[in-house]
Amino acid sequence: MTSAASGSILYLDGVTVSFDGFKALNGLSLVIEPGELRAIIGPNGAGKTTMMDVITGKTKPDSGEIFFEGTTDLRRYDEAAIASLGIGRKFQKPTVFDNHSVAGNLAMSLAASRSPFATLFHRPSDAERRRLSELLEIVGLTRQAENPAGDLSHGQKQWLEIGMLLAQDPKLLLVDEPAAGMTDAETEATALLLKDIAKDHSVVVVEHDMAFVRDLGCKVTVLHEGSVLAEGSLDQVSADERVIEVYLGR
């Protein structure tokens, strides 16, 4: 089966997940190419977040296949192992570590050995310090570096999470509703940031906000009732009758 998946960064085939008989994902198939920026849209309950859960090991699929980089069967790994393989995730609701400083949040996310003994004897290197100030610069939180992350505004927390994602230096970034609760200006800046990140990473963005998806200017996948309804450019899918029906018909 890996032949079909070869060459892709992420390959989902016929993935089904049900909760008490309700099929959150129903034969979902999706292929993301290396270096691709992809937006996933869909109405509430379309299975967007469940799809993220299945990829990151939080939920095990009932059936179907999930391959990372063509050969790695993700069903066999747990959350920590999948994160170490190089899949980073930003949550819908920003979850940063409130009691840690902004810099501390980023420092903990930096790519490094995750074993207890490595962290016990860890001393920050110059390269790490440089990377840290680079990241603070990118997400525009240099001034807040030493403040507790819990004191940040909602938009700043979203950016900090994106920074934490970048710090992990993953091959694939899964970004769940990065623009939720942001002002228009912040939303625009977020789209630019993600496009910049997509230059050297594969990025999957789940989003509700159509203006934001238009800003991203990438291939769009529409989910509905746990499977793919349409795929193509935003203009193509928004012209699709079934998509219009799903979004507006009911």
């Binding site: 990151t56 939080k58 920590a80 570590f97 420092a107 507790p148 940040l152």
Partner: protein, 390 residues
């Protein structure tokens, strides 16, 4: 130096105070005669020495509860196991001076008509071996128990309940005479340690100094752990466990590490406790004991280490006074104390103190300090114990 890197000013002060107590109390006991205003009685030496071992135990509990959110209600078991390991060494030291004058077997075994030492008592005549067991036995139990619990992602109140079950099961087991640990009576009538008579004031002074040093070392280890990047991960696990997993940290390994370390520290505390009080019996495994230990930490202020020590000493001093004045009502007082602390001082004595000093600073008009802060952020000074110090 690895152990002092993260101490900070407060940490050095704490070590200084413990060192001062560790020197002054035994000195005042040995150098002055009864009646002298500087004289400290032998009773007080034993009492404060006991408090020092409790303080070490409280640091061990704060390490897992305050910094990693693991509420163990069975830490008394690790304390008691360390105590039993020390007790077994002390029993073997009695030799043929027991009532039955058997050079090999402790009295209770002769009484049970056993004719040879059970295999698990082998080696306990050797002090070094016994001290190794003081850390290895609680450490191994914590490792196996933690491995099973954390791997299955048993957390929160469920974890607390099974730790209660663990210490209760051990209590029932140790009550049985067939277990070979003296049953109901436990291990007692100790004569000497490393050849020094336990009743001598000099030996008691030595045990006091050892307890103070163990507390200092335990505090330094705990400080080094919570100050490291590992400490940051522990706090992250406490605050948002599943988020930490998605960063690639294997939460169960971190919990296992800190839980095992904590159990070993508790074992050392138990081993120092036993020679100072002269007895170890299955009552030490009682579930209520383990709950009481958690109350010490809550009263002092969890997640502060120093607070755990203050809480352990304050509550036990209160207990000593209270059980003399109103022996019937101690448990009511303890319960009331716990409720009052939870309601009015959720961050304990040290947390309340930090809020107060933070508030005092905020009252002082200091335009420069204000300007340097982002006006949008409000630093209340609380909840920052895990903040990065980099």
């Amino acid at each position: 130096m690895l152990l002092t890197r993260h101490l900070g000013e407060g940490g050095w002060w704490f070590l200084f105070v413990v060192a001062a107590v560790g020197i002054a109390v035994p000195y005042c006991n040995l150098a002055f005669q009864p009646g002298d205003p500087f004289y400290v009685s032998g009773f007080m030496v034993s009492l404060i020495g006991k408090f020092l071992t409790y303080a070490l135990l409280a640091v061990a509990i704060d390490l897992i509860w305050g910094y990693c959110g693991i509420l163990s209600l069975g830490h008394g078991a690790f304390f008691a196991l360390g105590g039993y390991a020390m007790g077994m060494y002390l029993m073997r030291q009695i030799g043929d001076r027991g009532v039955y004058a058997n050079p090999e077997l402790p009295d209770f075994m002769v009484f049970l008509n056993w004719d040879e030492l059970p295999w698990y008592w082998w080696g306990f005549d050797n002090f070094a071996f016994a001290m190794l067991m003081v850390v290895l036995v609680p450490g191994t139990l914590a490792f196996v128990f933690g491995w099973l619990a954390f791997r299955s992602r048993v957390t929160g109140v469920y974890f607390s309940i099974i730790t209660q079950a663990m210490t209760f099961a051990l209590m029932l087991a140790f009550f049985r005479n067939d277990m070979g640990f003296g049953g109901n009576n436990g291990l007692t009538d100790f004569k000497d340690i490393l050849g020094f008579p336990l009743q001598a004031a000099e030996t008691r002074a030595g045990l006091f100094v050892a307890s103070a040093m163990a507390l200092m070392l335990g505090f330094m280890i705990a400080k080094a752990v919570v100050g490291s990047k590992l400490g940051q991960v522990l706090v992250a696990i406490r605050d948002a466990e599943s988020r930490t997993r998605f960063l690639g940290y294997r939460v169960e390994h971190y919990k296992l590490f800190v839980f095992t370390l904590s159990a070993m520290m508790a074992g050392v505390a138990g081993a120092l406790y036993v020679p100072q009080v002269g007895i170890i019996n299955p009552g030490e495994f009682a579930p209520a004991n383990s709950i009481e230990m958690v109350v010490w930490v809550a009263v002092g202020g969890r997640g502060t280490l120093v607070g755990a020590v203050i809480g352990a000493v304050a509550v036990n001093y209160g207990k000593t006074w209270f059980t003399t004045a109103f022996p019937e009502y101690w448990l009511f007082a303890l319960g009331a104390l716990f409720i009052a602390v939870t309601l009015f001082f959720p961050r304990g004595i040290v947390g309340a103190w930090n809020s107060y000093t933070g508030w005092m600073r905020a009252q002082k008009p200091d335009p420069l300090a204000y300007k340097s802060k982002d006006p949008l952020t409000l630093d209340t000074g609380v909840g920052r114990q895990g903040a990065a110090a980099e």
